[in-house]
Subunit: 387 residues, 2 copies
């Protein structure tokens, strides 16, 4: 039985293409905000789990050491797009098991510096070796989904419209805007049926969370803890190409069930979610796999407005990966920061009224043969006493 674990503080940099901002500055923005939010000094951090995907070896360690976080164990983790939430999961477990008292979960990615030309698929990846990049994989998934479940192009586009609109109230988001379904569908084709505005951009950012034992009440002058009810991490398994389920669906469903069972909640209990919408089809698949609707119902769900701000279960109030941005290693902790602000009631113009249970989901990687590299699902709860 683990001790109750809480988020003491969170912080992020701006999410943007900002190649001239060095990683140390991005880290400084995220980490100093998280430490101040938690009410602690760098010297109080007992260990760090850091996430990055394309960062140079040691970039996490070096940037943290320059912030005064030295000599303590720093473990950098990689789990594709779920790297930041993997760091969060490891931090949560470490505190829960009493391995450390205060752990910093940190994520950073400087993508514009890495991808300064055409993006080459990874040659070591079975699909990459055949020339497939992520948009191609998601495009194929979208086609399969249209064929099996009838999700329409305009339903997919609605995800982009919703998330860009949500981001209008997020001053740190990369791509906010008021778009129409027609504008989304009319944007440049990337990988049919996905158009440009249905694909996340590359981004440079850092994000962080300070994790510690639940403190019961907020420290003097500080912000209240957000309780971590559960986190779960799983990797993929062999996937039947002829399945009606595109890759990712079963992995997300299995990981979510593990997290929900551990937290003692069901999908109907969730008030707000940040999920992996790297491409519009991703959010549709994910909302189904999380149980917000039945298989094949994800298109109608977004169309219904239920997952929009003002609806019963808003998804991606930050703007999600599509609009807040998707700096791979920082994404998961950006999601954690958003849900933390939502559960404290400090999310400003994008606040979900009275949110008490929030969920973070990140899906990392995926190939045609395996239903995903990794998935992390976390269930967070509002501070005690909050309405």
């Amino acid at each position: 039985m683990s001790a109750p674990v809480a988020i003491w503080g969170v912080g992020t940099s701006r999410f943007a293409r900002q190649p001239d901002v060095p990683p140390t500055h991005l880290a400084w923005q995220a980490v100093t905000e998280a430490l101040a939010d938690a009410g602690i000094a760098p010297s109080s951090v007992d260990a760090v789990f850091a996430g990055t995907v394309f960062g140079d070896p040691g970039v996490t360690t070096r940037t943290l050491q320059h912030l005064g976080i030295t000599r303590v164990p720093i473990v950098t983790v990689e789990n594709a797009c779920a790297s930041g939430t993997t760091a969060f999961h490891e931090a949560q477990v470490a505190v829960g098991q009493g391995r450390y008292e205060v752990v910093l979960a940190f994520g950073i990615e400087t993508m514009t510096a890495v991808f300064d030309g055409p993006i080459e698929p990874l040659a070591s990846d079975p699909e990459g070796a055949q020339g497939f990049a992520m948009p191609s994989l998601y495009g194929m998934a979208a086609h399969r989904y249209q064929h099996c479940h009838g999700v329409s192009p305009s339903q997919m586009a609605r995800v982009a419209v919703k998330n860009r609109r949500h981001a209008l109230a997020n001053p740190r988001a990369q791509h906010a805007g008021e778009l129409t379904v027609e504008e989304v569908l009319g944007s440049r084709p990337i990988s049919d049926p996905l158009t440009l505005l249905q694909c996340c951009d590359i981004s440079d950012a850092a994000a962080a969370a300070v994790i510690g034992p639940a403190r019961g009440s907020a420290p003097a002058g500080g912000t209240p803890d957000v309780t971590i009810r559960a986190t779960a991490l799983a990797s993929g398994q062999a996937w039947d190409h002829n399945s009606d389920l595109v890759w990712g669906w079963q992995l997300v469903a299995d990981t979510a069930r593990a997290a929900f069972d551990s937290a003692g909640i069901g999908p109907q209990d969730i008030d707000v979610l940040e999920v992996h919408d790297a491409f519009t089809i991703g959010e549709i698949v994910t909302t189904e796999a999380l149980g917000l609707c039945e298989l094949g119902g994800g298109g109608a769900l977004v169309e219904s407005g239920r997952t929009s701000l003002g609806g019963a279960q808003p998804v991606n109030p930050s703007g999600g990966l599509l609009a807040r941005g998707h700096p791979l290693g920082a994404t998961g902790l950006g999601q954690v920061a958003e849900i933390t602000w939502q559960l404290r009631g400090t999310a400003g113009g994008r606040q979900v009224d009275g949110a008490r249970i929030g969920v973070v989901e990140t899906m990392g990687g995926g190939t045609a043969g395996i239903d995903g590299n990794a998935c992390v699902v976390a269930v967070l709860e509002a501070p005690e006493g909050r309405q």
Copy 2:
């Protein structure tokens, strides 16, 4: 208080420049050997910690999934040259705390595919941005050491002579040979005073260890457990450029003290060691920092023969990074495999007679401003009942 944790089995591929061998094959060699050595099936693995430095995102996960290790948590860690031992440390802690029962620690690196041309220093690294690569940093450290402590060029060369000779009895080593001090000193200058034969090569390999609760006696038909007495992980701290201690010294000393204190041993109790000799000066600094001799005594130590096979405390019987090879993410688990074989008495022609306590040390990264990215030290003990 942690439960006793043991190494159930180990395995490695050959260490070599083998760009035509795909990562999946290297992983297969290491993992199937480790699982067979442990007497378990892939389905018995509850979680994986994997180490790689330059591996493509997801390469660890993908290779393991193809070996049938699916759905379980797979966390890939990066800590520069200490990535493999960081994975080992995380696995040890996870089993000790009862988080998982059976954990696979895995490391892989395919360097020839990455470094197929001149190696560029990392631009995000403060020294890298000024054009320094690792040989330059070690070369400067060697000069400083000659100035402060009088270690001679021939003493440094003795490290290379010793480790290449050790590797003659290691059929999986990359560079075995009988060299003279003159041949080492006469090889091509790389970064003065370091010559070619004083620098490790790039390498392609995988290595693995299965970690579980100590089983007391060997399973029927299986190999006996090696007990993990302690592991410690730390990152660097700000380092005084004017110090007589080159970077790495204090970090290794601090991490070793933590591990030795936890294991209840002192340096005099160690029978065999695998340490981080990426460059000859590295082994000299490390043997001092581990307490095998006093500060400045590392040159005389290697000259004395005490750290050679047949001496009282053999260092790098496998050949070390200089001769077995240094495939970054696989290195640490290659060290663990070697010490496991030594403590079981199955190391063949390079066996250290009656070895009961073995130590693994890996030092990862380092810059002029910080005394290292990470260091891991592990203390292992021979199976019960072994003479």
